[in-house]
Amino acid sequence: MRIGVVTFPGSLDDRDAQRAVRIAGAEPVALWHGTHDLDGVDAIVLPGGFSYGDYLRAGAIASHSPIMAEVIQAADRGVPVLGICNGFQMLTEAHLLPGGLIRNDHGSFICRDQRLRVENTSTDWTNGFTDRQEITIPLKNGEGGFIASTAELERLEGENHVVFRYLDVNPNGSLNDIAGITNARGNVVGLMPHPEHAVEPGFGPDTPDAMRSGVDGLTIFTSALEGLLARA
């Protein structure tokens, strides 16, 4: 299975996402924002970073990139699409996911190992987790405050479209402690924390067992891969 990772000007975690795809057992495919070519990939990751320096609004200019036309069509066909951090911001700007991300309520950039609860295990990217599983993956953002209208929030909660929720602390002022959401079909998922930084022992968050041994993010990538294999 081939999972594409789109690089935009200012993407930072594209190679980390490719590495996560490889460790999960799929073939990473580098895609370029300026083309209309998805290279026939089976799933797509929009990685973290600061595309276009967060000019206009975080993710706004990238959401109008040439390749996003194909990403939107693929999402509408049911192709799994994951947006991480800046990729999540792009998904909201492209209207593939509702709500928006604004500057952290405390005004500062934040970087920490963040505990989350997986609230929805029926999406293409979370079906390998157990219900209400608690995981720890890195979080690093300046504009991670998830907001939506009251009606939209009620809909997200009522239809179980909240996928990840912050535990212990709300690091950025996100409403309802929301860290990640999905669309109705469950193929498009966006989250602010970074699963691609918790996929290999020695390079992840600390755990009670050992320093930097956390690999909770890997299940996001293996979930997509196993879903694709099951459908093939």
Partner: protein
Amino acid sequence: MPTIVVEVMPKAELLDPQGKAVLGALTRLGQSQFSSVRVGKRFELTVDGEVTDAVLAEVKTLADEMLSNSVIEDVVGIHVVSTEPAGASV
């Protein structure tokens, strides 16, 4: 050349952390008479040609769909400014 100005503000009901930080700085400078600061954006679109109704309508669409994000921001003003060349007497 005529310029169309588009003004965008964070939605009134949302916290504006940038404005809050500026208010904090003003307060530290001894300026305690302000109760709130909000920070928005001003876009100046210089038009190559005349500002027709069609151009204004297009800018209105762009302001709503690209220059602002209606989930988090409001377009609070669109207006055409003076076409006087720089340095011209007023």
